[in-house]
Symmetry: C2
């Protein structure tokens, strides 16, 4: 059922490339990726989990309230990360010309469904 939700998010977002449901320990529960030239998207997800872990740690010690969302824009991609629980987050990668707002909305819309399925 995780796979189904991930697929819906990626296919429902123009320019969507892949999504991964992952623990802050860097271990993926489920993922759905379309093929993409020149970039190992699985590696992208794993590497970003280190970044997210670092952000979460920073947010925790700074007393700025729990981390909810991180958006990273590079020359080629958008990566949108949404925190789900203390242990898990979801990351969506899309093309730079993709529909960032739609991807963000779908992550938000399905977050509760994923949280419920995780517990």
């Amino acid at each position: 059922m995780f796979a189904e939700i991930l697929r819906e998010i990626v296919d429902g977002t123009a320019g969507g490339i892949g999504a991964v449901l992952m623990g802050y320990d860097g271990i993926a529960i489920e993922q759905y990726f379309k093929p993409c030239d020149g970039v190992d998207l699985q590696m992208v997800a794993v590497e970003y989990s280190n970044v997210v872990k670092e952000i979460k740690h920073t947010v925790d010690i700074l007393n700025t309230g729990a981390m909810e969302e991180v958006a990273i824009k590079t020359e080629r991609f958008y990566v949108i990360i949404r925190s789900l629980t203390e242990e898990y987050f979801i990351a969506l990668t899309l093309q730079r010309d993709g529909n960032f707002g739609k991807g963000r909305y779908l992550l938000l819309r399905d977050a509760q469904k994923l949280v419920a399925a995780l517990s």
Copy 2:
């Protein structure tokens, strides 16, 4: 002149709290902060520089194109980070009910001015 640009960005963004022009080595060139209860905003900026350094490193090794922008949403704040040069970035912190879009726009608008002043 850096101080003037930072002040304009913070005061021009509803909910703007502070901005810092900083090196990826964590050393600030200039900053402008309004007082904010319960949070050491200078510490926020320094801590986020570690995060940004980590993201930059990740982006570099992943071949996803240069990092342009990072947006972090927590329960209390937004932090918007814009890469300026290989060495420097600017970070804007605003209240959660602040005008995220305006802050993002002002960072983008003044990025070239800051890059020119940095070189």
